[in-house]
């Protein structure tokens, strides 16, 4: 990321190497002072929208978490009494039923996220590596692999829920009727199996994104590195370890964090897969907060849970960035 300079006001960036070669270093022309306002004017629409839809609601959300904002106050929130941290105490009290459910949902989400990100990355790197070198049909396969990511979430997940139906779905048809692996048709969308169903669907949706990013990253690996490794007699795994993965490190750093955050916050997959309500085994945190907020119309405690979730994600992200940056400095 380019660093912002402390130059007063604005001036066009002249450090770009492309500019230097295209037009041999023109003398710095004095700028008319009104120009200095221009970049800010250009940013006004974006900033106003970001403030209105992201920043202000976030501040309001924190404020809401400090109010007794139950169903009696939702149509006119100015009447909701201020209760300090009571909502946090109530929702994060892990001895109560609600607190235990939240904690359970948190663990489910964490395990789900780690497995989903790991699998999506594995499939992504496998796909990117096998498509690294040109062969007949490569373009078609690349397009095919990207399709799950391009599909609207809900059509992809609805299709999966059809595959996973107990009596009419493909999965049970193959496992029970065709392969005879199981005697009885299991339910995939309720009970313990629902977690694994959710995981598979999530990986199916997200691995193409990893594939896309890793493929883009591989384009930047110079062929000479592989040739040098091949001359040294390096086999496939050795080349992967000593050339491919180190060269992909910058991509991986960002990709893993983005996948983690997206998967952890995933609402769409469970919401569509289970038709609006998730079984306890697949009760991801977003859907947990959503359901408890709109079931009880207690937006105060819903906001408290959301803010706690945000704080957790901020701590994790900051820790991740700190650790990876430090490693890079020592490398």
């Amino acid at each position: 990321m380019a660093t912002s300079t402390t130059a007063p006001g604005a001036r066009p960036d002249r450090r770009d190497p492309g500019a230097a070669t295209a037009a041999p270093a023109p003398a710095r022309r004095p700028r008319r002072p009104r120009r200095s306002l221009l970049p800010y004017l250009l940013l006004v629409p974006a900033v106003v929208l970001e403030l209105a839809i992201h920043v202000i609601p976030m501040v309001v959300g924190v404020w809401m978490s400090l109010l007794e904002l139950t169903q009696f106050h939702i149509r006119d929130w100015s009447t909701a009494p201020f209760i300090g941290l009571e909502n946090y105490k109530a929702t994060l009290d892990f001895n109560s039923v609600a607190g235990r459910e939240l904690l359970h949902s948190f663990w489910v989400t964490l395990v789900y996220t780690l497995l989903s990100v790991g699998l999506a990355w594995l499939l992504g790197i496998a796909g990117a590596v096998v498509l690294q070198r040109p062969f007949r049909g490569r373009a078609i396969l690349r397009a095919l692999f990207l399709t799950p990511y391009a599909l609207p979430v809900y059509t992809a997940v609805i299709t999966w829920s059809f595959l996973l139906q107990r009596d009419t779905g493909l999965v049970n048809h193959v496992l029970v009727d065709q392969l005879g692996l199981l005697d009885d048709k299991p339910f995939w969308l309720i009970g313990d199996n629902s977690f694994w169903s959710l995981l598979i669907v999530s990986v199916w949706r997200s691995w193409p994104f990893a594939f896309l990013c890793l493929m883009a990253g591989l384009q930047n690996v110079p062929d000479e590195l592989y040739e040098a490794a091949a001359i040294d007699g390096a086999g496939f795994w050795w080349r992967l370890r000593s050339v491919t993965l180190p060269m992909l490190r910058p991509v991986n750093l960002v990709l893993l964090l983005v996948l983690f955050l997206w998967t952890f916050n995933d609402f769409n997959t469970p919401y569509v897969l289970f038709g609006g309500s998730a079984p306890a085994q697949a009760d991801l945190i977003s859907i947990h907060i959503y359901r408890s907020s709109f079931k009880t119309w207690d937006f105060g405690s819903g906001s408290a849970m959301s803010v706690a979730l945000l704080l957790f994600l901020l701590v994790v992200s900051a820790g991740y960035l700190l650790i990876t940056n430090r490693r890079r400095d020592h490398a």
Binding site: P57, A150, P152, T159, L163, L170, L261, Y271, F294, L313
Partner: protein, 279 residues
């Protein structure tokens, strides 16, 4: 560099497994859309007993699909166009000027993309409802409210990708135009945008897809009149019969345009990703 036999077989196996994993659900979507109702109510079949296009006819009357489709089209198109328009100006500022707060702006905008949607949902719901009660501006359960919400969802990534494209356009072009006496906006519209057309198109498609596929806010912020496809498609399964053939037909109709758009422009998405990631 020669490929060993082991590597060749490894590659074939990986390709086969990945292809099967991706293709099977797509195959089921396409074939089931051509099945008569009894095929999807009994055990699963790999092929329609009697291929028919009837589901593509019936799907319009089982649920008000046309209304959902129009809602989704209007909301997604308006949101995409507005989002890209706003992003173009912001990306121009970030790409071509050094100013105080530039880094702060980039970081803030990108990080909102990473926050949980549920965090904004409850406050926005409350703000829209209370704003409607206080001023009569209908944002809750209206397409306007959805447009405003969705356009900010795609904004961060749109800005990021456009900055990448704009950065790749040589500044020599700007300066040549400047020598000819062109002002900043003229440079943006006459020099930079024409050179960045593929990028702008790719970003528009991305913004459209974001709005087209959004579920969380659509499930709360819409009523029967403003319902979009994301919520509307679930109507097929709340009926007495679950019309899986019609659901698959509707899913196919809803998916094909965005998938085609994405695949046609995939090259530019990759270019945008790498351009952004290099910095």
């Amino acid at each position: 560099m020669r490929e060993t036999a082991g590597e060749r077989w490894g590659r074939r196996i990986v390709l086969t497994l990945l292809t099967l994993f991706v293709v099977i659900p797509l195959y089921v979507m396409v074939t089931s859309a051509a099945k008569p109702l009894q095929d999807v109510q009994n055990g699963f079949t790999w092929w329609p007993s009697r291929p028919t296009l009837q589901p593509f006819v019936d799907m319009w009357s089982t649920v008000p699909l046309a209304r959902y489709l129009v809602n989704s089209l209007v909301v997604s198109s308006v949101a995409a166009v507005c989002s890209v328009a706003v992003a173009i100006f912001a990306a121009f500022a970030v790409s071509r000027y050094r100013f105080r707060g530039r880094g702060l702006f980039s970081v803030t905008v990108l990080s909102t993309q990473m926050f949980p949607g549920i965090l904004f949902l409850l406050p926005l719901f409350l703000i829209y409802v209370n704003l409607g009660n206080a001023t009569g501006i209908e944002l809750y359960a209206s397409r306007t409210g959805l447009v405003i919400t969705y356009l900010t969802f795609s904004l961060p990534f749109s800005i990021w990708m456009l900055v990448g494209y704009f950065d790749s356009i040589p500044r020599g072009l700007d300066e040549a135009a400047q020598v000819d006496g062109a002002g900043p906006l003229r440079i943006l519209f006459r020099v930079i945008l024409p050179a960045a057309v593929p990028g702008v198109v790719a970003v528009t498609v991305y913004a459209f897809m974001t709005a087209w596929g959004e579920v969380l806010f659509a499930s709360v912020m819409t009523d029967e009149g403003s319902r979009t496809l994301a919520v509307g498609l679930q109507g097929y399964s709340t009926q007495f019969n679950v019309y899986w053939n019609q659901i698959m037909a509707a899913s196919l109709v809803v998916s094909v345009p965005v998938v085609a758009g994405f695949l046609a422009l995939q090259r530019y998405f990759v270019a945008g990703l790498t351009a952004g990631a290099v910095k």
